[in-house]
């Protein structure tokens, strides 16, 4: 383009301040502190389809807004402007004379007199139709994403519930309590537990952890749970139950799984607990005398990896005032500072509870999980058994 010569350039720039005000590419409006319109430019008048004489001295600025916009203006815009003296980038809708709506962005400043007193509010109005259309797209996308997330969480919750028993059955002479601590609302964890009656005066139970999370883990968890229950009815002997599970899992989709399976047989003053484990964290036995110990069963191998995995057993005699806690490693692997919480730390923590009940153990560990907070990165399943100390009254069930 050729740069205009002197005279033509002067003619080009001849526009007065008044012309610049009236025909600016944005709207200008000034109003008194009570909102009465004092001055308005031609651009805004043409956008709104109003005559200057109908507005100046006759209408308030908020009259030009939609009713909802006016509510926003009075509850947010006006107080902020009064406190700050300026306000920028507020999205509102103005109403044109013919009823159509014009999405705008408003920026306002307060003009002050020599003594600092507020005199006039100056507002610039930008046409925001394109921006608003785009924002509406974003808003719709966000609302859609929120709905999807709610649905995913609902699904995860429902699925998780199907993997856990809705309530534990009563076991003669033994108090039982369980708790599931989900690490995430969005994903199904791979932890599980169950407790159920077997033939005669015997109950079976298990607690375990399938590696991974989400739908794949849930499929294996479900398979594991039903296999264990079916195997226990066939032959409740703990090692044969785990061998049965191992056979099923190694032939299905291979997936690591640690599990502890056991039976409860009530005795005259307590219960005999027979356990078998495949690589699971050792349960904590809290004796009535206040001595807590880890019931280690070395040599047990992970379930679902080797076709002829080896499993080991142990027998625990639960006497009056004794309690036994089974848990998954979400608890003992929780981050604490630079390190991890541990089986030993858990054992020491629970020693002070004696004589413990299943309820007091679960309550103490639930509190512990709250204290560990964000350090608990994985789901945690808890199952506790206890025998009442002598002289205690039966809990009302």
């Amino acid at each position: 383009m050729k740069w205009p010569d002197g005279a033509a350039f002067a003619a080009l720039l001849e526009d007065s301040a008044e012309d610049l005000y009236d025909n600016a590419p944005c709207g200008y409006v000034s109003y008194l502190l009570d909102g009465t319109i004092a001055k308005i430019n031609a651009t805004l008048l043409s956008w709104l389809g109003h005559d200057r004489d109908d507005l100046v001295g006759r209408r308030r600025f908020s009259d030009l807004l939609t009713v909802g916009g006016r509510m926003y203006y009075e509850t947010h815009f006006a107080p902020l402007l009064q406190m700050q003296g300026e306000l920028g980038g507020v999205a509102l809708e103005m109403k044109a004379a013919n009823g159509t709506r014009l999405p705008v962005l408003l920026t306002s400043t307060v003009k002050r007199g020599p003594g600092g007193e507020a005199q006039l509010i100056r507002t610039t109005v930008f046409d925001a139709r394109d921006r608003r259309a785009y924002e509406e797209e974003l808003l719709r996308a966000r609302q859609q994403a929120e709905r999807e997330r709610d649905r995913a969480q609902q699904l995860a919750r429902t699925l998780q519930q199907t993997l856990l028993p809705p309530a534990l059955p009563d076991v003669r002479g033994v108090e039982v309590e369980a708790y599931y601590h989900p690490a995430s609302l969005d994903q199904v964890g791979g932890d599980f537990y169950d407790l159920f009656p077997l033939a005669g005066d015997t109950w079976g139970f298990f607690l375990g952890d399938v590696s991974g999370k989400g739908v794949d883990a849930a499929v294996v968890t479900s398979l594991t749970r039903y296999t264990l229950r079916a195997a226990a009815i066939n032959d409740p002997e703990p090692v044969s139950v785990l061998k049965h599970l191992n056979t099923v899992l190694t032939r299905a989709k291979p997936r690591l799984c640690t599990v502890i399976y056991g039976t409860i047989r009530p005795t005259a003053d307590g219960a005999t607990i027979t356990l078998a484990t495949g690589g699971h964290t050792p349960p904590v036995l809290i004796g009535a005398d206040g001595v807590a110990e880890l019931v280690r069963m070395p040599g047990g191998q992970l379930v679902g990896v080797l076709p002829d995995a080896r499993f080991v057993t142990a027998e625990v005699l639960l006497g009056p005032g004794d309690a036994l806690l089974f848990y998954t490693d979400g608890l003992t692997e929780a981050r604490v500072g630079d390190g991890r919480y541990s089986e030993e730390a858990l054992r020491d923590h629970l020693g002070g509870l004696a004589p413990a009940t299943a309820e007091s153990v679960i309550a103490a560990v639930t509190l512990l999980l709250t204290d560990l907070g964000d350090g608990v990165e994985d789901d945690t399943a808890l199952l506790a058994l206890s025998v009442q100390p002598p002289g205690a009254t039966s809990p009302v069930s």
């Binding site: 502190l33 009570d34 909102g35 908020s62 939609t66 009713v67 909802g68 916009g69 006016r70 509510m71 926003y72 009075e74 509850t75 947010h76 006006a78 107080p79 902020l80 009064q82 406190m83 700050q84 306000l87 920028g88 980038g89 507020v90 999205a91 509102l92 809708e93 608003r132 924002e135 808003l139």
Partner: protein, 266 residues
Amino acid sequence: MDVLRRNNVVVTGSETGPVVLLAHGFGCDQNLWRRVLPDLAERCRVVLFDHTGCGRSDVSAWSPERYGTLDGYAGDVLEICRELDLRDVVLVGHSVSAMIAVLAANEEPERFSQLVLLTPSPCYVDDGDYHGGFSREDVDELLVALESNYLGWSSTMAPLIVDNPDRPELADELKNSFCRTDPAIARVFARATFLSDNREDLRKVTVPTLVIQCAVDAIAPPEVGLYTHEQIPGSKLVTLNAIGHCPQLSAPEMTAEAILEFVNGR
């Protein structure tokens, strides 16, 4: 639950004067009282707070269940009174907090000596002969306006500001940093504010009440203030020659004077 921290409670003013508890309305926080604060603090023990979810309150204590109705906010007011063991309280509620004050005073009338309802409306939506000034569609329009404005809200900055009250420069990094509210919380508060109907609660008020309204108010028009006054037995009505919904900002001297005159006349 630390109630004083949850609601960012501030106690200031005269040690010996009557206790005046100031409850802010929808759209802002306790900052809204700052122009009437000097006058009130000279003569009264002033207690300020932010509603849960607003200003510098503990946002983690907010839930849509508790704060989806005005009862949740009224419960907070009573909890603050109990925590500070406040008695003979003059409870001043602006805008929606006028109805929150009515609910609190009806729940525990023995705790309050006087109520001041500043630009109140017991029901914003028109209903038969009752003219509240708005339709259901108007309220929906407001919700849209709330969704399109973040005004000083940024989900990354907000926790920084709330957790570092001793570093105001953090707040200054955001424009419009007064009255920050998470848009999701503002939406729930807006619904509770503009869709509540507390007309039935007015008749049950037994605490001496002053209604203060503005001559021109687009949110709570004079006929709504008159209705509130007529429904509350024995109440007084003062109409300020002021414009807008927030006379404590636009006409602070007149507003403080009306409150103090009522408090002194008790």
